[in-house]
Symmetry: D2
Subunit: 425 residues, 4 copies
Amino acid sequence: MSLAVEHDDLVTFRRDLHRHPEPAWCEFYTTARIVSELETRDVDEIHYGPGILGSERMNVPDDDELAEWFERAKDAGAREDILAELEGGYTGAVAVIRRGDGPVVGLRVDIDALPIQEADAEHAPAEGDFRSGNEGWMHACGHDAHATFGLGAIDEILESDFEGTLKVFFQPGEEQIVGGEPMADSELIDDVEYLIASHVGLDHPTGEVVAGVDGFLAVSHFLAEFSGEPSHAGGHPEEGRNTVQAMAAAIQNLYAIPRHSDGATRVNAGLVGGGTATNIIPEESFIEGEVRGETTELMQYMNDKAENVLRSAARMHDVEVETERLGRAPSATSDQELVDVVADVARDVTGVDSVLERDQLGGSEDATFLMQAVQDNGGYATYVGIGTDHPGGHHTSTFDVDEESLDIGVELLSKAVLAVAEQRP
Amino acid sequence: MSLAVEHDDLVTFRRDLHRHPEPAWCEFYTTARIVSELETRDVDEIHYGPGILGSERMNVPDDDELAEWFERAKDAGAREDILAELEGGYTGAVAVIRRGDGPVVGLRVDIDALPIQEADAEHAPAEGDFRSGNEGWMHACGHDAHATFGLGAIDEILESDFEGTLKVFFQPGEEQIVGGEPMADSELIDDVEYLIASHVGLDHPTGEVVAGVDGFLAVSHFLAEFSGEPSHAGGHPEEGRNTVQAMAAAIQNLYAIPRHSDGATRVNAGLVGGGTATNIIPEESFIEGEVRGETTELMQYMNDKAENVLRSAARMHDVEVETERLGRAPSATSDQELVDVVADVARDVTGVDSVLERDQLGGSEDATFLMQAVQDNGGYATYVGIGTDHPGGHHTSTFDVDEESLDIGVELLSKAVLAVAEQRP
Amino acid sequence: MSLAVEHDDLVTFRRDLHRHPEPAWCEFYTTARIVSELETRDVDEIHYGPGILGSERMNVPDDDELAEWFERAKDAGAREDILAELEGGYTGAVAVIRRGDGPVVGLRVDIDALPIQEADAEHAPAEGDFRSGNEGWMHACGHDAHATFGLGAIDEILESDFEGTLKVFFQPGEEQIVGGEPMADSELIDDVEYLIASHVGLDHPTGEVVAGVDGFLAVSHFLAEFSGEPSHAGGHPEEGRNTVQAMAAAIQNLYAIPRHSDGATRVNAGLVGGGTATNIIPEESFIEGEVRGETTELMQYMNDKAENVLRSAARMHDVEVETERLGRAPSATSDQELVDVVADVARDVTGVDSVLERDQLGGSEDATFLMQAVQDNGGYATYVGIGTDHPGGHHTSTFDVDEESLDIGVELLSKAVLAVAEQRP
Amino acid sequence: MSLAVEHDDLVTFRRDLHRHPEPAWCEFYTTARIVSELETRDVDEIHYGPGILGSERMNVPDDDELAEWFERAKDAGAREDILAELEGGYTGAVAVIRRGDGPVVGLRVDIDALPIQEADAEHAPAEGDFRSGNEGWMHACGHDAHATFGLGAIDEILESDFEGTLKVFFQPGEEQIVGGEPMADSELIDDVEYLIASHVGLDHPTGEVVAGVDGFLAVSHFLAEFSGEPSHAGGHPEEGRNTVQAMAAAIQNLYAIPRHSDGATRVNAGLVGGGTATNIIPEESFIEGEVRGETTELMQYMNDKAENVLRSAARMHDVEVETERLGRAPSATSDQELVDVVADVARDVTGVDSVLERDQLGGSEDATFLMQAVQDNGGYATYVGIGTDHPGGHHTSTFDVDEESLDIGVELLSKAVLAVAEQRP
């Protein structure tokens, strides 16, 4: 089988997204671009706007930031009629193709970018003239390729004799692990029987495929904001209620949460700050941090302990603390039933020369929310790794995808959809 | 004026007490010895037993320890009829002399000893054969001399034309600041119009007198006991509730209680411990500590903060904590009215060659409870320093008093009582 | 005596400065304005530029910030020939009047402002149309009045029969305690025999004067910058070197530096921060803090302890730390010889109805460097408080000076200079 | 096959050891008893005394404690000629049987007891009159049975047609993980080609055998002793050098050592203490603790971090710290080659009804030193679990072994030795 879609079209689409990297809940240009493409195809339903989310969003940027990205998308030529539906940060889209009586198969791809300044020399996007046009932001984890996988697979399926329903979830906000949860709470996922999520790279070279990735650490991001009372540090230190002391006590004791014998746990106070001036007892401080666990239970163990540490540290220094969950993702496991199918078709995909059954991620991903939703409904899910030669590591300024892997991904995912629909594993 | 009492009698009495140093609430021998002496004199009332205390005692030793000291006193020849009244640790005594219409004047002396091993060479008690007979305990702060001052002053007053009422308070448990509070709560203090407390040494040489000591730091001793749950530190660390982590968090934050602009504060975790073995998550731990302040309010500020730190540290590690007050003393100030009288008579005392009006103690003392009680009733109080050459520092194994200062103390205190009774300052 | 200078001129000058508040080392407009005024008078020497500082400046803003304030001063109409001498942040000025053989008397006033947003309603400057024109900055501690005192006193002296030398030090950078030290190291201070520093307000109302302020806490501001190594907090926490852990350990132990029995001490971690994202082990963090002491020795005790805590906390977490001193000031005491003279003349000043000999500041000031320099050379110094009704507290957005106190300050300082020159106390 | 040894003899020997539980380096009675038994048999070599250890011993009790246990052994009837060789705590023994050209096979059993007070009712040893005769000490982990396994297996092999060399290592000091290391450093281990270590119970019932235990956490026990300087906490807190502050900082940061992505780690401050009295800045304090890791490398990672924390905490509070290693054990893995042999013979052992190939220990053991030594020389090792119904858990006062398992252990181990010698796996 050769692809119905042209390599050049995949490249063109991916590069356009690459030029317009956007953060969580601000993927206005990206969503509008995807939707406008879908409208030119024989797709049965295109969902976007608030309706694709089934629960509250976390960590939505403030109105000013949303407005800024909205305007930027408009200036970049995004269709205003589509943008209008996304206002307030309701980004992402779901495409549905209905063809006969077969099972409901889902693909999940993510579409957001990272706050990284892209390299401007000795870097393919710079040389190929598709470097990020949004200063300080970059598709440094390949989500531009992921969206291309999604669109390309739709094109392949449309040209095929597919029997069943295909749902492609273009998920926003993965980098901040905020998009997966509300999308998994949507009704759109309810009838999905098989879900394939995918990711490029992950230190696998072009031509290598992992049929079932595991080892997702469940994760929860939190923001703790302490508020106390300022006073003059020389004149009346006792009149202050010192949030920096509370913050320091919290940090020390967060890292000291007991290790758990059931498996790996993590904790990090990744971004902290407080106070205003050397001579003022600090009135405000904050910790933006995360906890993780090898299982969702272990993450929850860490989360409960962390909340208690934060509350107790505040009490200890007679200050208040408010904690807010910024984002989260559970753990998940790829089902062997789907892993077998994917591994099987992978061996026939042009350009694939190595197929691994399983590998460990060792990080976190909120595709796990969608995987879990499908599995909870009795369905199967797998997370597929599609190798790509990447010059710099993920989340670095020199990351890039080898565009040969675009064709591999499209062929692999579309073939897997077809095989699943036929075999109902 | 020369003394009515003989120097040798003072020395004999002091040395007998020196041979029998006893801790707080265990001054059985000492009290019995004092009471039996008083019974040979023309004293109007001798109070001892539970009746001399007006409120609950803190930090009473357990029954075994009380019984051990009780037996030791009996073995040392203490009168059993007196001992019977002291059972349960009701030590201390109050002597009352009533002579006509004058004012009620009080003297306060303390009688307990310290857990220090006395030097056994190049030390007057060793050479003079009156070294401590109770291993590990020692009159290392001169309370043997204080009791001698009290008895000697009674003898002088009995020989004088004193008009008024003299009450001499032989207070137990000063070293642990436990005796002052219940004695100050007794009715015996209620009619005292003038109170003179006294102490030997304080780095003043024999012949120097301080008429009014100030600078008492108010103090509170506490015991915090943490209890959690043990577990195997290798196999199931998460099943433990770790009291050593709580204790460590508490210690760090106790010392970090904000300084206060109203004056000096102190905090100390002086004796701590916890756990049982390297491989067990520690189930029990404790902090025995203290807070102090230049004023009683400052001590209370520290105490409130400390309690909050202890409670919050326990919560932070999901363990329980019980705090108990072990002893305390307020701050106090010597009244100028009495300071003037004492300074005045001091200049006429044989052997006195230097009289200071005021000096700072910089430590704590629970005579302050009695001083405060008198002052609260509209009376006056002062704390008098009676110099003595002491080879080693207070609370060290080579401390001793120059016995010449016994005569000075007796003369000074008795003359002061007489002057106060006459002048009603 | 009535003033030679007009009240309206004082007000006009003060309000012009009030409109142009500037931070330490950026007092370009202010200095240029002062120098241009001095040039219209019969002043013997006007010093400005690098020559008025005798040692390195600390905490100089970076070139961009200097350039921004420089341009702003130019735009506001500051004389460019004067500005040229101030380039690089060499602000401040010293005026010298030489009249005959009398002693050398110094006045010290400071000229910088604070990073506070001025109130824009129910506030005299807003209503009188002289509110701060530099957003976010404000003369919230009356240094506009201080500079007016200096210029007004010069005018008075020029009209008087003063015999001696008057040096007026217009000191930059007091709020960050950076200007006093290098100015005190200059040769200009060497021959000063009497120094009078002054401050408005300090919670004293208009008409009240304090002839000798004491109770300066010696202070040192520091910046500690920790640098470690980032790593992915989920994937490889052990590969990071965590500066936030080091920072937290340092904060906890800074506040826990033992109290000192010689007097009051202070410590504050007033502004802290670190890290970049929840999922990255934090590579960088910092503490901007301060230590203080009732004496310079106590401040030094705290400073030595703090440096050791910072270094050890860094080692504990295998990270590096660089500490930098941002500013400092010693303690100082007003000499009774000068206090007497000032108190004496104050009673004759129009509008003064209350003269206090002494009061305690309870804060810090780097005028103490100049006071100490004069005292070290055998001279005398005092720090004078000139009351003013101020609606809001010092360092708040509603602070303001009662302009009646401008006349009082000018008359008091000039009369004091004359009295000192005559009496050579 | 039925056993050559009598069940009653096994029981008698085990109960005799049970009556005489002894701690590490004090197994005088136990060793003498074993050696005197060996001397009655046709054993080729019996090694005991200093010669069986190849390196320094850690955590040897002080002379008084050694002498006390030595005397107790003598009083209990231990042979004095054997005891004489053990003086100074050189306990343990190695028996060697040489029979022809076969391979060198080792058995390792341990012989020490625990500081636990044995139950005195509803407990087989109490009822059977073989309860611990050493108050406060107890064979609460079945090492009495282990020694019986060793002696019984010797008896079986002596009766068999074994061809090869058998070495039985009666190892002292396992509970404190101090005996394994020096025994593994001895030349006696050098020629061992196959090593079988064994343990009763481990939550497996009588009749169940685990052929290869894994999951040993590498461990290191340490003692950190802090020394500073005392001072009066009220009078001169600044003159002290506070070891309790150092200890608390160390504890907080020990528990906060970063988790490692390579596997499980542990840390515990299991026994801590410091100071003398509420009002004294604490001069001395200590932490007795441990670190563990899923691999020896992970344990070493924790150990290096812990040492740095301890050193830095001491520096932070200007005190000294000495750290000492109290004991340690590496991780280890049972070799499949031996696991197969043991599992195979286990199925034929009388009374065995369940054979597990593998199980996880989740704790630590210093048999791993001997296993590793053999493996490093190219040999094979396994750690065998021999189930026993035990009423109370390991390390509790009601632990006991089902004596039926004595026969099972002896048969299993002797058959395994024979099979290994024949098969040379």
